[in-house]
């Protein structure tokens, strides 16, 4: 079946059609989430959230466009949501860690960064990380990144370039 046929059937609630539709894209989606979140389990949760959200919003999908960029855009947004929540939690945690632990505040983010692969990517701000993940790993254009992240094309281009510059510096510092 073609992608268009799968989309049509999935829109009518056919879960098998949707499963067929995402089968060829799910690894890309998972890789994107993993690169953005830096943690396998959280990436799997985010990717599953994104698939579910895509299924529920298939009615809004423009059938004339490719499915993968739309799906990956949803994935990027889900990851940004999670990063925002994580930041809020960490801010709260840092504020109270001293009194909870009775000592100096712990640095869970740093610990998590050290444990996970792609820690250089994890040091980037969330939106730059999303932009560079979509650009370098998925070959998204600035316009597609802008559509996925809900920002202007200029901002998307700047995010990508800033991320590249920061990564270059990080790599140089690591060496």
């Amino acid at each position: 079946m073609s992608e268009e046929e799968l989309v049509r059937d999935a829109r009518q609630g056919d879960r098998d059609a949707f499963a067929g539709l995402v089968r060829s894209h799910e690894k890309r989606l998972l890789a994107l989430c993993w690169n953005m979140l830096g943690d396998r389990e959280e990436a799997r949760d985010a990717a599953q959230d994104a698939l579910l959200q895509a299924f529920q919003n298939l009615g809004r999908f423009d059938g004339g466009r490719a499915f993968a960029p739309w799906l990956l855009g949803i994935g990027a947004k889900r990851c940004l949501d999670r990063l925002r929540r994580r930041r809020t939690f960490l801010r709260y945690f840092r504020g109270h860690a001293g009194e909870w632990l009775g000592g100096e505040a712990a640095r869970p983010e740093a610990a998590a960064e050290a444990e996970t692969a792609g820690r250089l990517l994890q040091r980037l701000p969330a939106r730059e990380r999303a932009a560079i993940s979509l650009a370098a790993f998925e070959g998204f254009s600035a316009r597609e990144i802008a559509a996925a992240l809900g920002c202007s094309e200029s901002t998307a281009r700047v995010h990508v370039y800033n991320a590249r510059m920061k990564l270059k510096k990080e790599v140089a510092d690591e060496l």
Binding site: L30, Q48, L52, A117, G118, I132, F137, S154, R157, L167
Partner: protein, 155 residues
């Protein structure tokens, strides 16, 4: 445009349209400025690509969906049970208006107040319905308060 000047201008004014202008007019086409940033291949080496995830088990999006549907169904069940309980309470309250109540007999007390003494009175007659009532006098503590009530007497 001079590379050093462009880089200075890029850093000095952090406005997306300005930076995008510099990117479009110089940085994207200048090998020296591109050398300041990491290329796609090098960025990909820092993260994971779909090819790196060959051993990963497939995602199960509908596991979460089923869970969500189950919890939504449970929420509806609770809401329905609450509605049912409220409906039963309301119906009970409404129906209770129609239950005939046994009316209490009316009581009458005739009292003679002593105009001279401030707190003195005499009970001349007390009746509950047609029958005479028996007075019960109760003096709690030493506060000087007296409580008098009447109850049905045997005759």
């Amino acid at each position: 445009m001079n590379c050093s000047w462009v880089r200075f201008a890029y850093r000095a004014l952090p406005l997306a349209p300005w930076r995008a202008f510099l990117l479009g007019h110089h940085i994207d086409r200048c090998p020296r400025c591109q050398g300041e940033a990491l290329g796609d291949a090098a960025v990909r080496a820092l993260g994971r690509t779909a090819a790196d995830l060959d051993g990963e088990p497939p995602l199960r999006p509908f596991a979460a969906a089923n869970g969500a549907l189950r919890s939504r169904a449970a929420a509806w069940r609770y809401a329905f049970a609450l509605f049912l309980a409220l409906a039963v309470l309301g119906a009970t309250a409404w129906l209770s208006r129609f239950i005939p109540r046994q009316s209490l007999p009316e009581g009458t007390v005739t009292v003679l107040e002593d105009a001279g003494a401030d707190r003195a009175f005499a009970v001349l007659e007390a009746r509950i319905g047609d029958a005479p009532a028996r007075p019960v006098v109760f003096k709690p503590g030493q506060g000087g308060m007296t409580i008098v009530w009447f109850e049905k007497s045997a005759h």
